[in-house]
Symmetry: C2
Subunit: 327 residues, 2 copies
């Protein structure tokens, strides 16, 4: 019996999840729900129907797990509690500061509905969170650092696009190698935002725009750019399409800590290098769908995170197989 999965929201992440499900023999995509006109969507997987989102709640008996592939800003805070009342759900909610509130709202809804909701699944939060947790558990006397990139930050790209005279923009977050090396060496340095990351901006300006003003507005933008060394490069729309259409990302979680009576230094590092951020995140969601189905079969209810999931439940392989080949 395959786990029957539906996707709600067919943007980059939804398409990444679709492709990930296709690579898993034990998972089956049974439908996509959209707020757009279903006839306007063409899925990559043959034979999978597209439904209007309003139809979801009439199809609870045909779906084991619903993957919520909307955005964290406005979609998921509403969608996850709403759908967790009727489905086992997985989301990739990634606004770190709002996770406690999102957890509470989702937990209440999932418990009321007798369902399991696994939130904040992806790589950060997600696999990076797991790396931080394991490293903290093993090295209680230590210090973490997380570096992101080189990769496209959607939030920073959007912030630039809102500036008058900007037609398109792409922002790369770039970790500063010297800082990574100091952390990797176990130095536990005190690092500012500026010490850790550069921000590289590629901007297509309107023909009559004041480029000096745009550059100044970017570099002085509070929170997004003012605390960082930022470069701004104006390019053509053709260059943007040719050189910046990918969605690479990645980064590293490092923790160094002390052991023994003589304070030996131990360093743990977890790194990702991703050619496609949404396809990789979709792959994490697919594995999480498998785990949620298992949690539901074990009788669990309420809101969970990857911190609560026995790692084996993310895998289609048997315990015996895992012990023989991966332990």
């Amino acid at each position: 019996m395959k786990t029957r999965i539906a996707i709600l929201g067919y943007g980059n992440l939804g398409r990444g999840a679709e492709a990930a499900i296709a690579r898993c023999d034990d998972l089956e995509l049974v439908g996509v729900f959209t707020r757009r006109d279903p006839a306007s969507l063409t899925l990559h997987t043959p034979g999978v129907p597209v439904y209007p989102v309003e139809q979801a709640e009439q199809m609870t008996d045909q779906i084991d797990v619903l993957l919520l592939c909307g955005g964290s800003a406005t979609d998921l805070p509403v969608q996850t509690p709403k759908y967790a009342a009727a489905f086992h759900v997985v989301d990739s909610f990634d606004t770190h500061a709002k996770i406690p509130a999102h957890f509470a709202a989702t937990d209440a809804a999932a418990k009321a509905g007798g369902k399991v909701a696994l939130i904040s699944c992806g790589w950060d939060p997600g696999l990076f969170s797991l790396a931080r947790l394991y490293a903290n558990a093993v090295l209680p006397d230590g210090k973490d650092e997380t570096f992101w990139g080189r990769g496209v930050s959607q939030g920073h790209s959007d912030a630039i696009r809102r500036i008058a005279g900007v037609l398109d923009a792409r922002q790369y977050t770039v970790p500063i190698d010297a800082a990574v090396e100091r952390v990797r060496a176990g130095e536990q340095p005190v690092l500012t935002a500026r010490d850790k990351h550069l921000r590289e901006c590629y901007v297509v300006a309107a023909p009559d725009a004041d480029k000096a003003r745009i550059e100044r507005e970017i570099k002085t933008m509070p929170y997004y750019f003012d605390e960082y060394d930022t470069t701004v490069t104006f390019i053509t729309a053709e260059e943007m399409a040719r050189d910046h259409s990918g969605m690479p990302h990645g980064g590293s979680v490092l923790r160094s800590g002390k052991t023994g009576w003589d304070d030996h230094t131990e360093t743990i590092e977890f790194s990702l290098k991703l050619e496609s951020n949404p396809e990789f995140t979709g792959s994490v969601l697919a594995a999480c769908a498998r785990a949620v189905h298992r949690m539901a079969r074990e009788g669990m209810t309420g809101c969970k995170t990857l911190f609560d999931v026995p790692p084996a439940w993310l895998s289609p392989r048997s315990g015996e197989d895992l012990r023989s080949h991966l332990l």
Copy 2:
């Protein structure tokens, strides 16, 4: 209420675990069991008693978790099933090929005694196994490689010491950078043992020993050395004590895999750089003791591995705290 832990076996690993427990506010070392004369041992922790190993089974009500810190070759295959019948136990059994048999024997004993046994805890098997499992679950279409070192291999050092004319020896396993870089780049190369690791040997020879013969015997030793490029350097006992008394180790688990319909390459890497292998392994055992106590309180019995442990149970921190600060 602290988790009351006893250590059985006071070698390098037992001492590493003792130091790790001292760094955890929620864990308490209540005793050490030894096969040696208890009067011959001086613990680092003040006030902790040392008992003859025969006394362990009369003290089950004073101990929440027993850490088995013996060796994998002859100690643990006997000790883990034996003590799992009477205690919740943790071991670091690391003979990969024999894990299924060790699991079966321990599982039967632990289930009969209503206890939990968490086996093969350390970094490989252990944290490296977790890295392999998560990476395989997320990237089913991919390839793993594990590199070890630069670090001291006890087994290879012992093998050299058994050669006639050798007074002392230390063998470092050294990953070959070019191979690591190819895997890190997502190439998925086919690599032989020789492509992946060098073996660096430091040998103290008896004054009258034939060094050419010793070097030849090392380099041609089946399985241990013949499949590798091996260097042999003869040094004095003083140099051995001065330059090679540490126990550093480490390594990397890498998996690259494909996502999406256009086969984008995603690479996951988990690395350790350890100044003290036994202290780090002891730190993993301490975190595992916490998890085993939790598993026992949840009513679980039988043999488990880290694959079965919800990550949060390795941490002393509450779910709320973990979600707020590490997710």
